[in-house]
Symmetry: C2
């Protein structure tokens, strides 16, 4: 059997646009050389004899994309949730992340994260590690082995954090360079480095300048945090009095998407100027609704970002969020948007199932190029969902089954998963 071309059969669902689903019942999804060749209701004659994996009445959707998740925080998901961002970082996050200097602890912890991400519906993810180079490489080795398509960042932070975790500016830059060399040396197939200054309060101007040099030398994408919490925003104003707005504190160093693809997580309080700059620079927003709830940050005005035509994807933001399950993230996005509409601003309508599905697939997938869809030429990422556990007495159409899965699915529904055309081991 030549695996360079194969076909999945089932109920194929993907986003045509932000508001419309493409549904092909009992259709054929063709993979050639790791890319989508097409979706067919009737198999073209020329494809006769191609091996078909028949998934019966299952749904087949694009692999989900998690644009923002912290791997080292997976260990304390669901713990210490009675704080806001800055206190939570000091109390929970920094002490836990410090442990990753110990490579044995890192191995134990990252194995749990990598195993669970592998078994989830997530095909692609943009991941924060810690400041530690060896542990970050170990995480990347694990994710590569799992077959997922990820971007992983060694975190940079040289101020406003406990001494046990704080880097010297030059050390932070040098370790980043060494890390990139190590990564290049490893020749990963689907694991890429991404620059990861934690957020403005953690990074001096000098460090930002060094990171910009590294970015230009290696053409690296970048991920960070933006306008998540009001105290954080005030703090950035103090730290960078020259900045017009929080995002401008990245942009002054060229680290706000103008040169290289950039993700900014949260954007709960982005004002008009920040929105305009994100649009101009093509910044990707990672909306993290469960984290917005758990850290009492507020609710990002996602409808506004969609209307403005910004790039928006979803992020689990573990451990601001409690789970890697991106179905839960989609449901939380709808729920948060409804409360925002009701309580805060009736001008921004609630998000629909179609819209959150778009964000969790094609919207976030665009950060990886052509990913998150079954249109021709897209990376072949697919998740086969068997919803038999979620029993119901009445007949349901495909769109309804998808909506139910958004609210109810977890890894038990995943019958198969493909990333870049390769089948993932779900055991």
């Amino acid at each position: 059997m030549n695996e360079s071309i194969f076909i999945l059969k089932g109920n194929i669902v993907y986003s045509k646009s932000q508001t419309e689903l493409a549904i092909c019942e009992h259709g054929y999804l063709v993979c050639r050389e790791g890319k989508v060749e097409g979706v067919y209701q009737t198999l073209p004659f020329r494809l006769g004899g191609t091996p078909i994996r028949d998934y019966g009445d299952c749904l087949i959707i694009p692999g989900l994309v998690d644009l923002h998740v912290h791997a080292p925080q997976y260990s304390f998901r669901g713990l210490g949730m009675d704080m806001e961002l800055l206190e939570w970082l000091e109390t929970n996050t920094f002490p836990e992340e410090a442990k990753f200097e110990d490579i044995d602890y890192a191995e134990k912890s990252y194995k749990i994260f990598a195993d669970n991400l592998r078994r989830s519906a997530t095909a692609r993810a943009c991941i924060f590690a810690t400041v530690h180079r060896p542990a970050t490489l170990l995480l990347m080795d694990m994710l590569e082995k799992a077959g997922l398509a990820t971007m992983v960042g060694k975190v940079n932070m040289d101020r406003n954090c406990p001494e046990y975790l704080c880097e010297e500016t030059s050390e932070s830059a040098e370790e980043t360079l060494e890390w990139i060399k190590d990564v290049n040396h490893r020749k990963y197939a689907s694991t890429r480095p991404i620059l990861t200054p934690r957020f403005t309060p953690s990074c001096t101007d000098e460090l930002m300048e060094e990171l910009k040099k590294i970015q230009m030398r290696y053409e690296l994408p970048l991920q960070s945090h933006l306008s998540e919490n009001q105290s954080e925003i005030e703090w950035v104003k103090e730290l960078c009095p020259w900045s017009e707005f929080y995002g401008d504190a990245y942009d002054r160093f060229g680290l706000f998407g103008a040169d290289c693809p950039t993700i900014m997580a949260h954007c709960v309080y982005s004002g008009d100027k920040e929105i305009a700059r994100m649009k101009e620079n093509g910044v990707f927003i990672a909306h993290c609704p469960e984290s917005n709830m758990n850290l009492a940050s507020g609710i990002a005005p996602v409808r506004k970002y969609l209307e403005e035509g910004l790039n928006v994807g979803l992020g689990s933001d573990v451990a601001g969020g409690t789970t890697e399950n991106m179905f839960r993230c989609m449901a939380h996005a709808i729920q948060a948007s409804k409360l925002r509409w009701r309580i805060q601003d009736e001008r921004l309508e609630a998000l629909t199932a179609e819209e959150v599905f778009y964000m969790a697939t094609k919207g976030g997938g665009a950060f990886f190029g052509k990913a998150g869809s079954f249109e021709e030429g897209y990376e072949f990422d697919a998740v086969v969902l068997d919803d038999v556990r979620l029993a119901h007495p009445q007949p349901l159409d495909i769109r309804s089954r998808l909506e139910r899965l958004i609210y109810l699915a977890d890894e038990r529904e995943i019958r198969a998963k493909y990333v870049n055309g390769g089948e993932i081991d779900l055991s």
Copy 2:
């Protein structure tokens, strides 16, 4: 082995008060004649020889209490969630509930509900059925067989609903009487009838008067809905111009807790007068946070109700909520309260893990008498939780393990479940 007395061994956790957990690590929980005899760190000498079921490092918590759930709506959980209450009732709820006139459909649908409730951490529940007497009895038969402790109501509605579902006033009262006779005839051990006028907009004054007569004759508890949605509240003002506030429209008929235990679901918009009346009458509030989100109702000011000393429990409110999983309900309660604090009213602090655990156990359990705690004399409802699936690299204390379970647990964590001292079949 004499099963009238037995002992569970494990990490025993229950609410001492709204804000404090009682934790007994590797302790003994003694059941005698279906009631809790006590919790012991060291087994008293007199209990030597009593059979012990050793659950190792598992957590043992009181069975959870769901104060508000609609059994017929379980079939469309997670579906059609893009509407507010009144439109959602017309579009989703009434057409589905009408199907329960067909006893075969009811059997198919209620079996799914009863099976999943049995396998969940819920020990006790207050349940809405439909207007149909035979289907309601069938549901009660199933719940009795499952061994759960429930109160189930044949719904009453004689106005403002589609003709296919609308009862005549006299028919509604007569069917209710017949239903109660049928129930009494069946001599259930743990399944009780509860009067269930759907809500004021669905029930004429005449029907309310008839229900009051039935209540007094049989001393029945009552459940209904209150102040969930602003359009609903306006509507009640129009329908009952003589009422001081929504709750008063029940109280005028004596159906607001003054005589018999009464649950009012939601209370998102209860004003001071309504709160005062609920307090005076001992009304139980069923807070349904996921439903508040999904139907964009708003967020109930639960902190205020707790501070006022009202009786508050939690409700899944399927299918306003999407899941029977009361852990999820606890997490949603915390999350909703944080958003309320941040966006709506900083005077009402967010709920804590301790508080939602209290509401899901002892708080709601009080509606059943002594239930939801491991204090002496309480009904012996216990859930044994094995959190091994939720892997972590670091040691965790019992309180932390409970907090994680609130966010992450589902039926996979349940190793055993007891209701009234009887072990439930989880298969």
